[in-house]
Structures are given as C-alpha cells and as structure tokens.
C-alpha cells in the first residue's frame, strides 16, 4: 500500500477512517491491496472473534480461570499484526491482545496451553491466562502490571537503533495505561532518543469500569503525543484498513529513523473487562447494544461485499474451517497435561543458587512422601 505522508493527518479531531460504517472506501486514494490480502484480513479477524468465543466457553465450563476478551478489538489488532514485519520486528503486547498475537502467528496450541497453564505453554504455566509471549516471534511476554512494558519497549528500540538492526518495536496498551507514570517516562525517553518504537493505544474508552472521562481530560489519547514532540494519530480502530495503514505508516517512519509515534485506535470492548467482571454494573443496556451494532467484522464484511470478495457461503466455510482448527488446537493443548511441579524452581535465575536448590529438595521430598 503506497501512502502519501500527508494522507494521514496528525492530531486530527475526527478519527482517521478509510472505510465508513456502510463499508464504503472513503479515502481519496486506492487501497492498493490484492484480493488475497483483503481476504486475509477478514480471515484473521474472524479467527480472532472465534478464538474469543471459544475462550469464553472455556471459562464458563471451568476449564480455565480467567480471560480478557478482545471482541470489538479485532480490526485494530489484525491491523497492527499486518503492519509489522512478523518475526523481525518486536511486539510488546498487553493482556487483551490474544487476537493480535494469533494474527502474528503464535500457534493456537500455544495460546490454549497458556490459557490452561499447562505443559503446552511455552512459558511453563507461570502466568495467568491472557499473558502470551513468544521468543521465536519476538513477542515480549505480557506482564500484568499496566504500562510496565512501555519502558522496556523503548529500551529494545534503543538497542535496535544503536545496532542498526532495521527493526521496530510496537507496543500496545489500553487507554487506562496512559495514566501510569511509566507510560509517560517511556514515551518521553523514546522521543528524546528518536527510538524506532510505535506506541499503539487500543482505546476502548474503559479501564475496567472507569470511563475515559475519568481517565483523562485530554481531548483524546493521540494528542498526548504533542507534549513529547512526536506525532499522534487518532484513528477509527473499528476500521481494519485504517488501523493497518496508519500503524504501518508509523512503523515504516520509525524504521526510516524518523522516531516514535503514538497511534490511537478507537475501539469497543464488547465483553466485560475480564471473565471476573460484570460490565452491566457500569454500562447501560443501550450503550452495550449501540456498541455491538458497530461490529468491526460487519463493517469489513460490507466493504468486502462491495469489492465482490464476500459471500455467505465462503464465509461459512471459513467459519467452519477456523472452528475445526480451534477445536483441534484445544485438544492438542489439553493433551499436554500438567507441567512438572519442580519446574517451579527453574528460570528464577539462569542457574539455581543453593537456597533454591534446598527449597526444591524440600518440595521434592514432600511430593515423594
């Protein structure tokens, strides 16, 4: 997709949008994507949605303890995933990004293994669900502490700059994260260093129950970039091609040595904050149903229909195919079984010091008895 820089205004009041809610291409330039690429976006969004639905079932049936649903974020997350060079660039995601890491290529059995906290989890069942990571795909393992991954993303980007690796770090977070000190510390340092990092806010306007109006008095999230001397882009995150194009533009700008930017993708959170939350306590029925009417998948479906790339039969087959993949991956992950309990003492350090050796022996004896 060839983009003129001027095509994406910084600090716009209206969100940048390429596809309108009726699925019409509204940009003054062609999208320049092949039919195959356009359909790939749809497939990834649908897979993200179906994964979310599957995870909700896993919680309801007691197979896992927790999940942070990402339904409503699919266009934003798939847009981000396609905007970076997978396996080359680094992603610093947060806990609502399972749709994103799936589109980045994290194998489904690993996602389910992490969700179940069992031996199929490459992180050995160390963290609660919705905390993925992948060394081979350069996906920095999620940390629960909000915004704590922002400064590390900046550090990695400084390393990329110093060593001229041609990589970019992309760091995602919610709107609530922008109130944390570490967010500001990280964005400021990145700007001073002109580090190749793109900060992407998936703004669903809620931090658990706290509405954006209680979170910030700024007119939007993107405008915060101005104070740090970097561009901010305010984007309709229900529009997958706008999300993709603007993030991609920011990524390539960073890669070219022009420094960091902040991209705000305005989305909806269709589900509760997490499986432990009840969103009807703070969102009205009207608000919930109004949000759900603005489904990013539906908008993109309408666009594809106009392009002659969507029909119900194709979509149904796709849905069945993905559902099968999900079920097979879940079976595979479940078959992995529990991790070795003594793994508890691994990875605290590169090697176990005496005190961990002693404690490991204590537990081993207890388990043998």
């Amino acid at each position: 997709m060839v983009q003129e820089r001027a095509a994406f205004p910084t600090f716009s009041q209206e969100p940048i949008r390429l596809i309108d809610p009726d699925g019409r291409w509204v940009a003054p330039f062609p999208h320049g994507l092949s039919a195959q690429e356009l359909r790939r976006f749809y497939r990834d969004m649908l897979a993200a949605r179906l994964l979310d639905e599957k995870l909700v079932v896993l919680v309801r049936t007691g197979k896992t303890s927790f999940i942070a649903p990402h339904a409503g974020h699919e266009a934003a997350q798939v847009g981000i995933a396609h905007a970076l060079q997978r396996g080359h660039d680094w992603l610093f995601p947060y806990y609502r990004d399972l749709g994103l890491v799936l589109a980045m290529g994290v194998p489904l059995p690993e996602i389910f293994g992490q969700t179940l906290g069992n031996a199929a989890d490459p992180a050995k069942g160390r963290q609660m669900p919705s905390h993925p990571g992948s060394r081979s795909l350069n996906i920095f393992t999620v940390c629960s502490a909000i915004a704590s991954h922002i400064p590390p993303a900046v550090g990695a980007a400084i390393s990329m700059k110093l060593r001229r690796t041609g990589q970019v770090a992309v760091c995602t977070f919610g709107d609530g994260a922008t109130s944390e000190g570490d967010w500001h510390a990280g964005v400021n340092f990145a700007a001073v260093q002109r580090a190749p990092v793109v900060f992407v806010c998936e703004n669903n306007r809620y931090a658990i129950s706290v509405n954006i109006a209680q979170q910030t008095a700024s007119e939007n999230i993107a405008i915060k970039a101005k104070a740090y001397g970097i561009p901010g882009y305010h984007v309709d995150g229900l529009d997958v091609l706008a999300s993709y194009s603007v993030v991609r533009y920011a990524v390539e700008r960073a890669r070219a040595g022009e420094g960091p930017s902040l991209v705000e993708l305005v989305v909806h959170r269709f589900g509760p904050h997490s499986s432990a939350d009840d969103d009807t306590r703070y969102k009205s029925k009207e608000e919930l149903s109004a949000e759900r009417r603005q489904d990013p998948l539906l908008r993109y479906q309408r666009f594809l229909e106009r392009e002659g790339l969507w029909d119900a039969q194709w979509a149904n087959e796709l849905r069945l195919e993905i559902a099968k993949e999900l079920e097979a991956a879940l079976q595979e992950a479940q078959a992995a079984g529990e991790p070795d309990p003594l793994q508890m003492f691994d990875d605290v350090f590169a090697a176990r010091p005496w005190h961990l050796e002693e404690q490991r022996r204590l537990l081993a004896e207890e388990l043998e008895a």
Binding site: W90, D121, P122, A123, K124, R126, Q127, H131, G133, S134, R135, F140, T141, C143, S144, A145, S148, H149, I150, P151, P152, A153, V154, G155, A156, A157, I158, S159, M160, L162, R163, A169, G181, D182, A185, G186, N188, F189, V192, D346, D347, V348, F349, A350, P353, W354, H355
Partner: protein, 324 residues
C-alpha cells in the same frame, strides 16, 4: 599496580567492560558529560561516546525499564541510579519486569543487566541519601544483590555482574567511595558472585557483615584481638545468594555469631543469616546469634552517628556472646 579508591575501581571495571564488549552500555542521570555525581563514570563518555554512556531523562522508571528492554534485545546495560534512595520511582521496572522476565516467559526472555547504586549512610545525607534497601531487593526473587566494601572487590565483582546472565543490583556504600585505597590490578580478574571473603581468621567468635559497616566490624575485631579474643570476620559481599557455606563453616568453628549491618533490623539480611545459622547449627552454638543493625526508624540526620552500628555497640554485643 595502581592504588585506587573504591569509586576509581568502579570506573576501571566499567572502562574495561565497555572496551571488551560492545554490547555493554551505561545509562543514567548525569553519567555522561559530568561523569556521574560521584564521578564513577568520569571520562567514559569522552572515550566511548554518548550512545554508550548515555545521559537519560530524569526518570528511574525510564532508566530501569529501558535497561530491561536493552537487555532483552541483547545488550548488556549498566544502569546507574544516582542514589539507592531514588530507585523507588523505578521499582516496578526492577521488581515486575527485570526480576520476573526470565520466570514469566519460561526462560524465553532474560534481562542481564546491572543496576549500580550508591547506598548507605554516613555522609550527612538525611534519609533520602542514606538508605540501605538491600533487603527489598533480596526479597524479590530473580534479583542478585551485591554490596561491596573494598576497591579490589568492587572491580572484580562489577565485571562479573556485567557478565552475569541475570539482573544484578550492585550496591556501592558511598561513604567508602574515597575512604580506602588499595592496590587494584589493571589486568583482568573476576570475582564470583555469591562468595564471601574471610577478612580475618579467628576461632572465638564469627562476625559477619557487608558494605559500609565492614569498617567498624574490622576495627572491633582488632580491639578484640588486643584483648585476646580472636574474631573471624566474614564480608558477605553478595547478600543474595549469600554464602551460607562460608558462614556455617566459620560458626561451626567458633560457636558464636554476630551479624552487623546498617540496614533496619526487621526482616533484614542480618535476620536471615541469624535465622539460618540458628536453624542449621542450633546444637553447636555456644550462644544465640545476635544482630547489630540500624534501627527500625527512617534514617535520621541529627542522630546519624547513633544510628549506624558503632564499634562500641559491636564490642558490647560480642561481649554478650562471649559471656553467655
């Protein structure tokens, strides 16, 4: 062999490691142009440039967090926190990110970084230039914690810390920065993290200390010797993992343990050492292990000298042990 102060030995170690490995980089407040407020990094930016000896914004979260990302991406960052007392704005980066990265990722990502910080009291700095927060770090699984007391150790241990594959908190008692001089080889040498040093051999009582109060502990041992009591003095050097083997071996010989530290007493390193010795050598002890520590108050300015473990206080505690 040059005779150097502790802070000069730190500078030597940094210089050697910057020269040896181009992944090594220093970042912190005022570390570049000024060479650090204590001059630990003096001359290094001139030598290695502003990218490898980097002045950062005034943000410990940015310094420590960026160090995590630099390390995870393959660099060997050495972060300087201007005073140990100012690590707290960045503590989440140290505790939630650096310490847990290897564990939470199942060994996929690591943060081999060093966090240097001048620590401890004795410089009339009030409670925000005097604290000894090593127990906080030791209580956070995933961090190694070194506290040095001599120029020779400072160089050898800092070089090891930089080469270590895990995050190391490296504490430098600021009152010792220029208090002692010692011959330090310009040649390469490394000292192992986790190994204590026996500073003085003796068979009557074991004195265990580390960092600043090593000075008072050694003085007390000298006075005891004048009175005919042979104290064995152990400098822990690393407080996590601390050298249990060395401490137990000494207490087996002496039957008496006194731990000296200027950190507040409750939930301290001193308590940990005393508890472990009680658990493991209960039937060989001639007296209950004792601690001489800082008080459980914020570090005071006016009562600075009363707060710190004094030679007299150490001698009195030793007497209690010997008379038990």
């Amino acid at each position: 062999m040059p005779t150097v102060t502790l802070v000069q030995a730190i500078n030597m170690a940094l210089d050697e490691e910057l020269r040896r490995d181009e992944r090594v980089l220093i970042l912190g407040e005022d570390v570049g142009r000024r060479g650090g407020v204590f001059l630990a990094t003096e001359g290094l930016q001139q030598k290695y440039g502003p990218d490898r000896v980097m002045d950062t914004p005034l943000s410990e979260a940015a310094i420590l967090g960026a160090a995590v990302g630099l390390a995870a991406h393959g660099m060997r960052p050495v972060a300087e926190i201007q005073f140990a007392d100012y690590v707290f704005p960045g503590i989440d980066q140290l505790f939630s990110q650096a310490a847990k990265l290897r564990y939470r990722s199942g060994g996929q990502f690591t943060a081999p970084m060093v966090v240097r910080m001048p620590s401890g009291g004795g410089v009339k700095g009030g409670h925000h230039h005097s604290q000894s927060p090593e127990a906080h770090f030791a209580h956070t699984p995933g961090l190694k914690v070194v506290v040095v007391s001599t120029p020779y150790d400072a160089k050898g241990l800092l070089k090891s810390a930089i080469r270590d594959d895990d995050p190391v908190v490296f504490m430098e008692p600021k009152r010792l920065y220029r208090a002692v001089k010692e011959e330090v080889p310009t040649d390469e040498y490394l000292l192992p993290i986790g190994k204590a040093a026996v500073r003085r051999e003796g068979r009557d009582i074991t004195l265990v200390s580390y960092g600043g109060p090593m000075v008072e502990t050694l003085k007390a041992a000298e006075e005891m010797a004048a009175a005919g009591v042979e104290a064995e003095v152990i400098d822990l050097r690393t407080v996590l993992p601390w050298d249990k083997e060395a401490v137990l071996a000494s207490v087996v010989k002496t039957g008496r343990l006194l731990v000296v530290s200027e950190a507040p007493r409750t939930a301290s390193i001193a308590s940990e050492v005393a508890a472990t010795v009680s658990e493991e050598l209960f039937d060989q002890l001639l007296a209950p292990p004792l601690r001489v520590t800082g008080f459980d108050t914020p570090y005071p300015l006016a009562q600075d000298k009363l707060y710190m473990p004094t030679v007299t206080r150490i001698l009195n505690a030793a007497k209690r042990l010997l008379d038990y």
